[in-house]
């Protein structure tokens, strides 16, 4: 490559790196009174609920500060001791005594809940077996619902013996919706009619049958920006739905999808519906569609005897790992970056710039993916996966440099050394990257939550590292070396000294 051509390409390469650096990291306000803001990719990127510190576009709006929200579901017949105190506060002594006569503090005088006599306990304060069984079923249902969300950091805890604590990360878009609707209990029912009051059940569930004889499954799916709740009916369900919507062409029929007595979805139907699958869209995001699908799925096993749950005591919790974790991760990355560059510049002198450019391109590609791929976010796991692929890239670059160094030492020209060096290590580095990428992407395809995201980052990082080390690095080397008159000195490569006898 001629020197002039090398200089031109180097300038373009440098400008590309600088532009990517600017887009990825620099944010600023402009216009009158700083009316407009240019947000960098890093600023727009969301991060894990566990890392702390207000960050990104959502933090600018004050809506996202890491951490998450908790609430407590109290089943019917159970109220918190605080609520009991609040309720009796404004009562006269007689009223308070009358009110208190209906409740028993549980488990003792220091208990945090009161049980209602006749609902949760008998007159002597002994918990009813039927209530205990119903509470266990409610706890299992709520746990299944939160597990079904597959949200990183979701938790369900039993609080004392007869309340359920839940937690969802603020990173979700619909944590409020999920905590609200997951309190709905009872069986799934689909009713049809002109209004909710007069609507009748679509399915005639006979003795020995359940709703599962009519509804196979309920899932969610999304295509582009539209998300759906998908009902799959059995043949009997399809037939019943066809009958219920038979007159829809003349008079619009509304389908009411209820959990217990609570209506979750209303759907207007203007023609006979005769299919096994029903897609319901609306204002759903992929996340809220999944929430509603999980709710309906678990309600397939619901019964009319299910305890009703009341969500209360909602609180915001700060980030799990502490408020400074993100800054500390940046510092750790800074230490790694400085150590990496110190090694490459010390060992390879100006060839270190080739690695620097390659690494920066890899870094910005990862940042851009982190921003543009919806399910990617920055967490401790993904950071670890990113660092492992960074090590892979450094290792690969060092291997290719060393391979060329050996060739150069034998007396070959620099161009020939680079060519032969790369030829010797190309398939080795290729295999290495393929294996890591395969492991990463397969873990992503099968695992859930944090491990899934980390797997994807590992796979993506390995793919980028492979491209960077096998293509970009070689290109950068050719371009930069072309600007130097003494390529051996540029790379800090030395010939083997042969002593004449």
């Amino acid at each position: 490559m001629s020197k002039k051509k090398s200089v031109v390409l180097l300038v373009i390469y440098t400008l590309l790196i600088a532009a990517l650096c600017f887009i990825c990291t620099v944010s600023f306000s402009y216009g009158t009174d700083n009316l407009y803001t240019f947000s960098s990719v890093m600023r727009m990127m969301e991060k894990d609920a566990d890392l702390g510190i207000a960050y990104g576009a959502n933090a600018d709006a004050g809506t996202y500060l890491g951490g998450g929200y908790s609430a407590v579901y109290y089943p019917e017949g159970v109220i918190s001791a605080k609520e009991f105190d609040d309720n009796t506060d404004g009562m006269s002594e007689d009223e308070a005594a009358q009110y208190a006569a209906d409740y028993v503090r549980y488990p003792d005088e220091n208990g945090s809940v009161y049980l209602e006599k006749g609902v949760a306990c008998d007159d002597n304060g002994a918990v009813l077996d039927s209530f205990r069984t119903a509470f266990d079923a409610a706890l299992a249902t709520v746990t299944a619902r939160y597990a079904g969300l597959r949200a990183d950091g979701a938790r369900v805890e039993s609080v004392g013996d007869y309340a359920i604590g839940v937690f969802l990360p603020a990173m979700m878009d619909g944590e409020y919706t999920a905590i609200s609707v997951f309190a709905y209990t009872g069986e799934l029912s689909i009713r049809a009619g002109s209004d909710e009051a007069s609507a009748t059940d679509v399915f005639t569930i006979r003795p020995g049958q359940t709703i599962r004889d009519y509804v196979k499954k309920i899932t969610s799916r999304s295509a582009g920006d539209t998300a759906y709740v998908e009902f799959t009916f059995t043949d009997a369900g399809r037939e019943a739905l066809k009958t219920a919507t038979a007159g829809a062409a003349d008079t619009a029929v509304t389908l009411f999808f209820n959990v217990g007595e609570t209506n979750v979805i209303q759907l207007s139907v203007s023609e006979v519906y005769d299919q096994n699958t029903l897609y319901i869209s609306g204002s759903y995001t992929a996340e809220t569609a999944n929430t509603v699908a999980v709710l309906f799925s678990t309600a397939l096993d619901g019964t009319a005897e299910d305890l009703t749950l009341t969500p209360a005591d909602a609180y915001f919790h700060s980030a799990l790992y502490g408020s400074n974790t993100l800054v500390m991760l940046y510092i750790a990355f800074g230490v790694f970056f400085v150590a990496m560059m110190a090694f490459f510049f010390a060992r390879y002198r100006r060839l270190g710039f080739v690695h620097l450019y390659t690494y920066l391109l890899f870094l910005f590609a990862m940042i851009l993916c982190g921003w543009s791929i919806p399910f990617l976010y920055l967490s401790v796991e993904t950071f670890l996966a990113f660092l492992l692929t960074s090590v892979l890239l450094c290792f690969s670059n060092a291997v290719s440099f060393e391979s060329a160094r050996k060739e150069y030492a034998l007396g070959k020209t620099m161009t020939s050394s680079v060519k032969t060096g790369y030829k010797k290590c190309f398939w080795k580095l290729f295999d290495l990257h393929i294996v890591v990428a395969v492991i990463g992407f397969l873990v992503y395809a099968i695992a859930l939550t944090g491990l899934q995201t980390a797997g994807f980052v590992l796979g993506l990082g390995a793919a980028f590292s492979g491209i960077a080390t096998l293509l970009v690095n070689r290109f950068g080397w050719a371009v930069m070396m072309g600007t130097s008159k003494k390529p051996g000195k540029f790379c800090n490569f030395k010939r083997e000294e042969v002593e004449d006898e």
């Binding site: 918190s80 905590i179 005591d313 909602a314 230490v335 450094c394 295999d431 397969l442 099968i446």
Partner: protein, 345 residues
């Protein structure tokens, strides 16, 4: 490193087997020590509402009363946080949480072993302190309670993680089989499985506190590290196999040469990875993330162990076996060729 290690397969296999078996037993009986996720804890809550106009001094007083009460009861909390009250999630019209602005919760978290009697004594003491403080004019606006929180297991992510690691390792080693031969893939598979289980076993036996998600993350790291380290050996093995003298070299000599040539590279790769993880753990020392990074040292160490000791020693046997099959096959092919040539003559 001495090449005696190549002859000590029974020792390395025994070491791995003992640790893994002990780990499996403990995993089955006790599971992992997921203490960082607080599977069971006791919380001591002081609700307060700024309707009583609690100034910063009063808030500090509340904390002081609690600390004093805990000290008197002889109990020590593991965490304290002030939580902002949110509107109750009952109306879907609202759509998102919003801060009430006047409800707060001072929450102290204790280990599950703290007795209810001690917490009850602390509760009584805090209530008495609040009642005796004129700054809290409306005592009803503060409320003290304590409870036991028990985490409900969500196992799907754990078993899906285990399946993911197993499938990923097998598929990756099918690729190794295609590129480097069945023998290398078998040894690599054994090394990967060994490292993943060894990592899990170390966490189970040493009762190292981890988050629930962490064991499968570490198993995945062990599989990746193990595969990478074994690939380094495989590449050299393939290079050596191309040498004209390769056929005359025994499996043991071949592995000895490979180990000698690649030990440095494996040590450097492992050293850099370990150093990086240590840096991350040190940088995040004051945060909860340090535990995640510190735990990641185990899978890298496990990968180093199998790459240095178990895998080469095992591959001596595997390679010898495959070489014997190859020689037998070559003799058969040779006989066929000779017979064919004789027939043509």
């Amino acid at each position: 490193m001495s090449n005696k290690r190549l002859n000590l397969l029974p020792v390395w296999a025994a070491v791995s087997a003992v640790i893994i078996l002990a780990g499996i037993v403990l995993m089955a009986l006790l599971g992992f020590n997921v203490a960082l996720d607080r599977p069971e804890s006791k919380v001591f809550d002081v609700h307060y509402n700024v309707v009583v106009d609690l100034n910063e001094e009063s808030k500090a007083s509340l904390e002081r009363y609690c600390e004093q009460a805990f000290a008197d009861a002889g109990i020590v909390y593991s965490d304290v946080a002030t939580l902002d009250g949110q509107s109750d999630p009952v109306s879907l019209d609202q759509g998102s949480f919003s801060q009430t602005g006047n409800d707060f919760l001072l929450r102290y978290t204790f280990g599950a072993d703290v007795s209810d009697a001690s917490l009850a004594a602390a509760k009584t003491a805090v209530e008495a302190s609040i009642a005796g403080d004129e700054a809290f004019l409306l005592p009803a606006e503060t409320y003290v309670s304590f409870d036991t929180y028990s985490l409900q297991p969500m196992n799907e992510s754990v078993w899906r993680g285990a399946v993911a690691v197993a499938v990923a390792a097998i598929v990756a080693l099918i690729y190794v089989a295609i590129r480097f031969g069945l023998g290398s893939a078998l040894t690599g598979l054994v090394a990967c499985v060994n490292d993943a289980f060894l990592t899990l076993a170390v966490f189970a036996i040493a009762r190292i506190p981890v988050y629930t998600f962490a064991p499968m993350l570490y198993a995945a790291i062990a599989a990746v590290v193990s595969a990478v380290f074994w690939l380094i050996r495989c590449m050299k093995l393939r290079d050596d196999a191309k040498e004209p003298s390769a056929g005359a070299v025994s499996a043991e000599e071949s592995l000895a040469g490979v180990c000698k040539a690649t030990d440095k590279l494996v040590w450097i790769a492992a050293g850099v990875t370990l150093a990086l993880i240590v840096v991350c753990a040190l940088c995040t020392m004051m945060t909860g993330a340090a535990a995640v990074f510190a735990g990641a040292l185990v899978p890298v160490a496990a990968g180093l162990y199998s790459s240095m000791l178990l895998a080469p020693a095992l591959h001596v046997k595997v390679k010898a076996h495959f070489d014997a099959i190859k020689r037998k096959h070559a003799r058969y092919e040779g006989k066929k060729k000779t017979a064919k040539a004789n027939a043509e003559d």
